[in-house]
């Protein structure tokens, strides 16, 4: 494979103007505000943009709204991981010369517009899962978490899930933009109501209104940007099922392939990583992902995250924004993993800023643990 390390850089990131509960703004409003803000962060104009990427709506809809005519267009939509996978696609497109300034946007009024995306009647899920009430992520992901508990021990797995929930909330308390900032004790976690057993309320991500965007460009154009470029070292993507009942192994995501591949393409190892941004749709997602990525072995994640190791001050920095569990989660949260990674590498994170991080691994998960995208970002 061609060595693409540091051929492209992320030069602008931002959220939409307001996130959390924003009753009067549509999906597209969040897309556009985030695009505006990310371009300003990059010191670039909408006129510079010639590659357009999104998920959740067509780039036809988005480009018309933004008033641009892209020379490269990509609506890859494989769930919340899409915006991580777009990094890889932009890297390929820019290196192939199809575009040189790519804009990737997300916007979802997940809280204020609660309509569930309707499936196509002809799809297998409409016949073989939804009639049984397999509707929504908490129910689907619960299948996987229960299986994990069976394989590795219920109390052991539960403690790992609690550690993740409590540690992530501590990070959120340091992020002014976080939605949930109340103290959370272990008792609060264990006493929170059941949603879909084995998931308590505090195992589940938020449902908020939010948008986000980033600008990714060639090494050449990155020189014109306002801020230091955040380099893309390497990336990988995959998926192995759509319906949860068809998942080959409920305790292993395809991060088992994309993690090692992204690290190898980046020329770095697990030990080199200063910050891990891991899609936390559920506490369980984090456990399965850390194992699949190879930070620890199968069944070892509860030990790996024990004693608040991922909390502020711990020796494994993870989800420093407060994550989908406590900062924001509009529906397809992957975008926000990128925003935090870039801000930490640039040193813009205020009270939650890590000490001079150089390398960040991002792993997005989409669908019903169906797809993953892994990428490694670096700053000089």
């Amino acid at each position: 494979m061609t060595d693409l390390r540091k051929t492209v850089a992320i030069v602008g990131v931002d959220e939409s103007d307001e996130i959390g509960k924003v009753p009067d703004k549509s999906n597209l409003t969040h897309h556009a505000e985030a695009a505006y803000n990310a371009l300003e962060d990059a010191g670039m104009s909408i006129k510079d943009v010639n590659g357009l990427f999104t998920a959740g709506t067509s780039t036809l809809n988005l480009a018309e709204y933004l008033g641009i005519e892209p020379s490269f267009t990509d609506t890859t939509a494989v769930g919340g991981s899409s915006f991580i996978i777009h990094i890889a696609h932009a890297m390929a497109a820019i290196n192939a010369g199809y575009c040189d300034v790519a804009l990737v946007t997300h916007g979802e009024a997940g809280r204020s517009r609660r309509s569930r995306p309707g499936g196509d009647d002809a799809d297998p899920g409409s016949q073989f899962e939804t009639p049984y009430g397999f509707l929504g992520a908490p129910i689907n992901y619960a299948m996987a978490a229960r299986r994990y508990m069976h394989q590795y021990g219920e109390e052991y797995a539960r403690q790992g899930m609690a550690e993740v929930a409590v540690a992530t909330r501590k990070w959120a308390q340091l992020n002014p933009k976080a939605y949930m900032k109340d103290d959370m004790s272990f008792d609060d976690y264990h006493n929170s109501r059941w949603i879909s057993e084995p998931f308590h309320l505090f195992d589940c991500c938020l449902v908020t209104d939010a948008g986000g965007a980033y600008v990714i460009t060639s090494a050449e154009r990155a020189k014109d940007a306002k801020k230091k470029p955040v380099w893309v070292l390497g990336a990988a993507e995959s998926h192995d099922h759509n319906l949860i009942s068809q998942m080959p192994d409920l305790t292993r995501t395809v991060a088992k392939n994309t993690g090692p591949a992204a690290l190898e393409r980046s020329g770095v190892t697990h030990d080199d990583i200063d910050l891990s941004m891991i899609y936390d749709s559920f506490t369980y997602t984090v456990l399965a992902t850390l194992e699949s990525l190879g930070f620890c072995g199968p069944g070892e994640a509860p030990d790996f995250v024990a004693d608040q190791r991922t909390a502020p001050g711990g020796d494994f920095a993870m989800n420093t924004s407060g994550g989908g569990l406590s900062y924001t989660h509009s529906g397809m949260y992957g975008m926000f993993l990128v925003l935090e990674a870039v801000r930490q590498l640039r040193g813009e994170c205020g009270d939650r800023q890590l000490d001079d991080p150089k390398l960040c691994l991002i792993n997005g998960t989409g669908g019903s643990l169906s797809s993953t995208g892994t990428t490694v970002l670096a700053i000089d």
Binding site: Q127, Y132, G133, E197, F199, L243, I244, S245
Partner: protein
């Protein structure tokens, strides 16, 4: 009260499955290239990408592979059912399928992964019956 949960819409590849379900029989597709049954029904097998496939009648025996107990209804049709059990079961013939476990007062204690199950059918409309499973 009228049945108001999502209702399956049979497709060409699944007409036989739903017709047999209406007769309270569970039928699967089998790949003749490798002799394995698979789920859900497809004309071309997912194991070998083979068109040499048959329909076979399943025994209706299964074991519990994993499950969740749903406390918050995900759709108005399920409000009167909570708590109810969503499950993935492993059929005796090998394939896994999504279903519900028919059981009163579900708990982690009375639902043991690996427990034996058998198929039962719920007639949901004049044309359709839904295969579910209950502990043996």
């Amino acid at each position: 009260m009228a049945y108001n949960k999502p209702i399956p819409v049979p497709q060409g590849e699944s007409d036989v499955y739903w017709q047999k379900a209406k007769e309270h029989e569970l039928w699967l597709r089998k790949c003749n290239a490798c002799d394995n049954a698979y789920f859900y029904p497809r004309d071309i097998s997912p194991c070998c990408f083979s068109k040499d496939t048959d329909w076979i009648r399943a025994s209706g025996k299964a074991s519990l592979f994993t499950y969740g107990i749903v406390q918050r209804a995900p759709h108005p049709g399920f409000v009167d059912d909570v708590p109810f059990v969503t499950a993935i079961v492993e059929l005796e013939e090998g394939p896994k399928m999504a279903t519900n476990i028919v059981i009163d007062n579900p708990t982690f204690d009375n639902l043991q992964i690996g427990m034996d199950l058998e198929v039962v059918f719920e007639d949901i409309t004049d044309e359709l019956a839904l295969p579910k499973f209950k502990p043996v």
